[in-house]
């Protein structure tokens, strides 16, 4: 099974996770820029984070044979802090960089005027940069938030096929499907969506325009939920080809619209071997001290 995790926050994960993901079949992923748990208070804090996504984290992933891509945005939660919103002026520069495959996560958290402003401006930036958009839907009042999200997307003029609306569930999937956007599902332990509910949704709505992700981050989450969903699909009678479509070809098609995916195998990578001791990123290595 080859797997492309279209939404996972690797800065919060360990090298054990990278090794387990590679063993599970993960060869590529997208890390969306998001909130880090501790609220940011300055623009500089965002810029260092964006640079880390495109620099250190990409390097770290390649040490484990995985191609790392990122999406860049001011997330809706922090769009409410005026100390952070000036980062919007910096985002177009990042959207031009190698490995940036979408604008995201954008969308709504509490549906405030500040979130409206950040969402609308960043949709316009995506159109200017010819990039897809990853939209986060709110944890609270999700159905209303999804309606409003789709209205704003429609008003922006962006093609619906350039938009994935993420964190969907049984109540709002049809709305997004009918709008022509891509449907994203975050498969979590206990919350949002589990792999068996995911299979039921796939049986009802089909495998077109569906992205399944682990959305693993610093919270309770599981970076192998993509693999577990693939297994649950096979157990429910889906074919290998259908699993490949959902777990690989769909994310490649969606993010490939950026023209910025790198999917060739990492040169020189051998599974199970420790990273080369001389491999480092600006002086930092994933190894801790010399090997015994």
């Amino acid at each position: 099974m080859r797997i492309f995790d279209p939404h996972i926050h690797m800065t919060s994960r360990t090298t054990d996770d990278y090794e387990a993901m590679y063993a599970a079949g993960v060869r590529a992923l997208v890390e969306p820029a998001f909130w880090l748990g501790q609220p940011r208070t300055t623009v500089g804090s965002f810029l260092d984070y964006f640079d880390a996504l495109l620099g250190w984290e990409r390097f770290r992933a390649t040490q484990f044979g995985i191609r790392h891509h990122a999406t860049i945005a001011l997330n809706p939660k922090e769009a409410n802090d005026p100390r952070c919103t000036e980062v919007l002026d910096e985002i177009p520069r990042y959207l031009a960089k190698d490995g940036v495959v979408a604008v995201g996560e954008v969308g709504y958290d509490s549906m405030t005027p500040a979130e409206d402003e950040a969402f609308t401006r960043q949709l316009a930036m995506a159109i200017d940069a010819a990039l897809p958009v990853m939209v986060h839907t709110p944890h609270r009042d999700k159905l209303v938030g999804t309606h409003r999200t789709l209205d704003v997307v429609r008003e922006s003029g962006i093609a619906p096929g350039m938009v994935v609306v993420d964190h969907l569930n049984e109540t709002n999937v049809a709305l997004v499907k009918d709008a022509g956007a891509w449907m994203g599902f975050s498969v979590y332990p206990d919350t949002k969506m589990d792999e068996h509910r995911m299979v039921a949704i796939l049986l009802e709505h089909g495998t077109e325009r569906v992205l399944v992700n682990s959305a693993a981050d610093w919270g309770r989450s599981d970076p192998l939920k993509t693999l577990k969903t693939g297994r649950a699909m096979l157990a429910a009678g889906f074919t290998d080809d259908e699993v490949d479509q959902v777990l690989w070809r769909n994310p490649v098609e969606f993010y490939g619209q950026s023209g910025n995916l790198l999917l060739d195998p990492v040169p020189g990578f051998v599974e199970g071997e420790a990273p080369a001791p001389t491999a480092s990123f600006e002086g930092s290595s994933v190894l801790r001290g010399a090997r015994a």
Partner: protein, 244 residues
């Protein structure tokens, strides 16, 4: 897990292939890639502000193939197609800005400081192109020496190697230049990356190389062959210990 490509033995590298050379791209671009580069250059000539976006996109536009794949399979020593394309774009930027270099210095510093590793390499290779063309105004030399110093503090091999080209040969002071050379040896990067090695190597560098070799021997480790290039009277055969 990823293994860095072996650096070629001393003296095996074809000359003239570094990314900052004006002919570095000769015969290597497809028509489509060459057209992209020509368009980018003319857009920069019309509006220098467009350079930021073109420099960011160069890797996607022309690819990242090493310029001298046989001698330098990872593109560390002599650079890559996108390094060379960025060097051309820096040349276009320099031509579009006032000759006093004040504005160019500002543009290059900003591009470097806000750039990813590839963009930073592009600025450094672009400085090489300017140095080879004899067109480095004092304002640029001053600002860019600081950029090279920053790159030489990094441990990314491709970035350090891009900071020891013709610009460094012409503008780094002796102390900084010697430390740069020794750092390459320390990192296991071939000195084929260094422009003007024979012209600038001096007794002090040879002393540093001897001391480095002594430290390695004391630790029971091998002395890299390249040490002999900067300390010609050094006997490498006296190495001993588990790695010898």
């Amino acid at each position: 897990m990823t293994t860095p490509a072996p650096t070629p033995a001393a003296g095996t590298t074809p000359p003239g292939l570094a990314a900052g050379r004006p002919d570095a791209l000769a015969g290597l671009l497809t028509d489509e890639q060459a057209a992209w580069l020509a368009t980018a250059r003319s857009e920069i000539a019309a509006d220098p502000g467009t350079a930021v976006g073109h420099l960011a996109r160069a890797g996607r536009a022309v690819g990242r193939t090493p310029l001298a794949p046989a001698a330098d399979p990872a593109g560390v020593l002599h650079g890559t197609l996108d390094d060379a394309a960025r060097a051309h774009l820096v040349g276009a930027l320099a031509a579009a800005l006032p000759a006093d270099g004040e504005s160019l210095a500002t543009h290059l510093t900003e591009t470097y400081q806000r750039g990813d590793t590839a963009e930073r390499r592009g600025v450094l290779r672009g400085l090489d192109a300017l140095a080879l063309g004899g067109t480095v105004p004092p304002a640029v030399a001053s600002a860019a020496t600081a950029l090279a110093a920053d790159a030489l503090r990094a441990n990314d091999q491709s970035l350090v190697a891009a900071a020891v080209g013709p610009f460094a040969a012409a503008h780094l002071d002796d102390h900084a230049w010697r430390h740069a050379v020794l750092k390459l040896v320390f990192m296991g990067v071939s000195l084929d990356a260094v422009a003007g090695l024979d012209e600038r190597a001096d007794d002090e560098l040879a002393r540093m190389a001897h001391d480095f070799a002594a430290e390695r021997r004391a630790a029971g480790r091998t002395v890299p062959d390249d040490v002999a290039r900067i300390a010609p009277d050094l006997t490498l055969r006296t190495t001993h210990g588990k790695d010898a």
